[in-house]
């Protein structure tokens, strides 16, 4: 945080509350402290998130994993300023989520591709730049470059309905990358895809992440996916949504789909599974 330039890299405890006042590392992109969110419903309040502490450093790939309703999507929506916490503080790049959103410092990838059906692939990818007022030539060139990066060269003039689900999701990834945000927020991006497509998308995401080294927050239901992709796995549990465990990945930086079969990966998956089980025993 720029306000505290002397702060050293601090390894925060992965469990329990942050005592507060502890400074985040200078390369901290996301700093969540003591965050809670309660939805007021007609019959009873719903504790969507409770006492969340999480720090994400630049270049990390952080997966949020947990059962349905554990608030992992809500947590990410708070980071994106699409949802407001009832308690606690969040900073993104050292500023509030709202300021970060106004600075367009993150790209959000939704569970569905959310393409605009009346725009072709190229113009869908141009959309963020169009809104930011970038000149036609530049935004088209960027769109073409990122479409190539996600392996969709030659599909520029196709319309969304002419693409498969996996290709649509790749368009939405190109769209999020196109304006080069430091931070990617991915909300179960491959949740709706079949396993074979999902594997291929995971492989491509690894390559993209290697090339761009963006900070990624990735919400998923899949242990395999979390193990394969992440440098840090955040295990969550439901009612109230809270963090059970933060596991640092022991896998090498260079990964392929086969990495999942290595002893280190299997061990990591086992730890995640134990964490999920521990969270489950609470209710």
């Amino acid at each position: 945080m720029p306000s505290e330039p002397t702060a050293k890299v601090v390894d925060l405890p992965s469990r329990g509350k942050n005592p507060g006042g502890k400074a985040a590392a200078s390369d901290t992109i996301i700093d969540i402290r003591n965050l809670s969110l309660t939805f007021q419903t007609a019959d009873a309040p719903v504790f969507a998130l409770s006492n969340i502490d999480l720090q994400v450093r630049a270049g990390e790939f952080v997966s949020l994993i947990g059962p349905s309703g554990c608030g992992k999507t809500t947590l990410m929506r708070i980071v994106a300023d699409l949802e407001q916490p009832t308690e606690g503080s969040v900073t993104v790049n050292g500023v509030s989520p709202r300021e970060a959103r106004l600075k367009r410092s993150y790209g959000y990838i939704f569970q569905a591709a959310a393409l605009y059906p009346w725009r072709n692939v190229l113009r869908n990818v141009e959309l963020p730049h169009e809104i930011m007022g970038v000149a036609k030539e530049e935004r088209e060139a960027k769109a073409r470059r990122y479409l190539e990066l996600v392996g969709l060269k030659g599909f520029e003039k196709k319309y969304p309905w002419q693409l498969s689900g996996g290709m649509q999701q790749r368009v939405s990834i190109a769209r999020a990358l196109s304006f080069d945000p430091q931070l990617l927020l991915m909300d179960e991006p491959f949740g709706a895809l079949d396993e074979i497509t999902r594997d291929r998308m995971n492989e491509e995401l690894l390559q993209i992440w290697e090339k761009t080294r963006k900070t990624v927050i990735f919400v998923t239901h899949s242990i395999d996916e979390a193990v394969l992709l992440s440098t840090k796995i955040v295990v969550m549990s439901a009612r109230p949504g809270r963090i059970i465990e933060v596991i640092d990945s022991t896998l090498p930086a260079k990964r392929t789909l086969d990495t999942r079969e290595t002893p280190a990966a299997l061990d990591l998956a086992h730890r995640v599974r134990l964490g999920l089980k521990a969270g489950h025993s609470y209710d």
Binding site: R104, A114, Y116, W118, R119, L127, E130, I131
Partner: protein
């Protein structure tokens, strides 16, 4: 507008006369014509038998039928009488003639289109306001609905006469009646259409920090196009009704005026001709809208 439909490729024509459906359509037309001829005999029977009895008491049933289908002032004219009159009043006359139905249809069409234009603009502006301003949503909607419960036949003459007194005559008063009728479906359709983007598409715009105007033009408007055209087809048809109704009280030119003078002089054939002309005009207008819709949606990547 009509030219767009004329020049529109096979896609539009396919809608108008889909291949393989000719026989059923012809059958239905034949049945309607047969029933019509029968009805013409039944309705004209009293008058025809009176006339025939006056001339020659030994008339036969075939005399009655023949008479019923060829009366000069029938209660219900036979279809061929209407067709002949339509032919004579369109192809058989110069367009500039005051008796040409093409001329009258043109007068009505211009009021219809002008009213349609006013109504569409008003409808879209109201919808945009309702979608963006909560107060308008609550306050305006009841008035908009109430406006359509007022019988247009009752207020049309008032509007025409009042505007006539302040020197506004001709096209404008007629198109105001049209606009009054046709803004309603446009408002309803556009409110629905402008609200049709799903939450994800709206969230996406928010993540880009898009402004209200950008969300409007880049998301809400494109998403509303199918709704808009569904509304426009209804709107242009009732815009035509509005124009005809507005022509009834004043006479002069236009299909409504032809209806009026036809009923004034008991010219049922003339009334029916004008009605058919109005129907053809209405079809042409609705298909013109469908043609424009087809062109626009194809440009926006709709499925073929």
């Amino acid at each position: 507008m009509t030219s767009a439909a004329m020049s529109a490729p096979a896609g539009v024509l396919g809608v108008i006369s889909p291949r393989g459906r000719v026989l059923p359509v012809v059958t239905v037309v034949a049945v309607i014509l047969a029933l019509w001829y029968l009805l013409a005999v039944a309705l004209n029977y009293t008058r025809v038998s009176e006339l025939l009895a006056g001339a020659d008491p030994d008339y036969t049933i075939s005399d009655v039928i023949k008479g019923a289908w060829t009366m000069e002032r029938p209660v219900l004219p036979a279809p061929d009488q209407i067709a002949t009159d339509l032919w004579n009043a369109t192809i058989g006359l110069k367009v500039t003639s005051k008796r040409s139905l093409v001329y009258h249809a043109g007068v009505t069409a211009s009021a219809t289109l002008l009213g349609f234009l006013f109504g569409t603009i008003l409808g879209i502006v109201l919808a945009a306001g309702i979608v963006h301003v909560r107060t308008l949503d609550r306050s305006l909607m009841p008035w908009i609905i109430a406006s359509q419960t007022v019988p247009i036949l009752a207020i049309a003459p008032m509007v025409i006469v009042v505007l006539g007194n302040v020197g506004i005559t001709g096209l404008i008063p007629k198109s105001l009646i049209s606009a009054y009728l046709c803004f309603f479906p446009v408002t309803i359709g556009m409110v629905k259409g402008l609200r049709s983007p799903d939450p994800l598409q709206m969230d996406l715009m928010r993540t880009y920090s898009a402004g209200t105007m950008q969300v409007f033009w880049k998301l809400r408007v494109p998403a509303s196009i199918p709704f808009l055209f569904a509304s426009l087809k209804v709107a242009i048809a009732i815009s035509l009704v509005g124009a005809i109704v507005a022509e009834l009280p004043v006479g002069g030119a236009g299909l409504g005026a032809r209806l009026l003078s036809g009923s004034y002089y008991g010219q049922m054939v003339q009334i029916w001709s004008a009605l058919f002309m109005a129907a053809f005009l209405g079809m042409a207008l609705v298909y013109a809208i469908a043609g424009i819709e087809w062109l626009i949606l194809r440009r926006a990547g709709a499925r073929a």
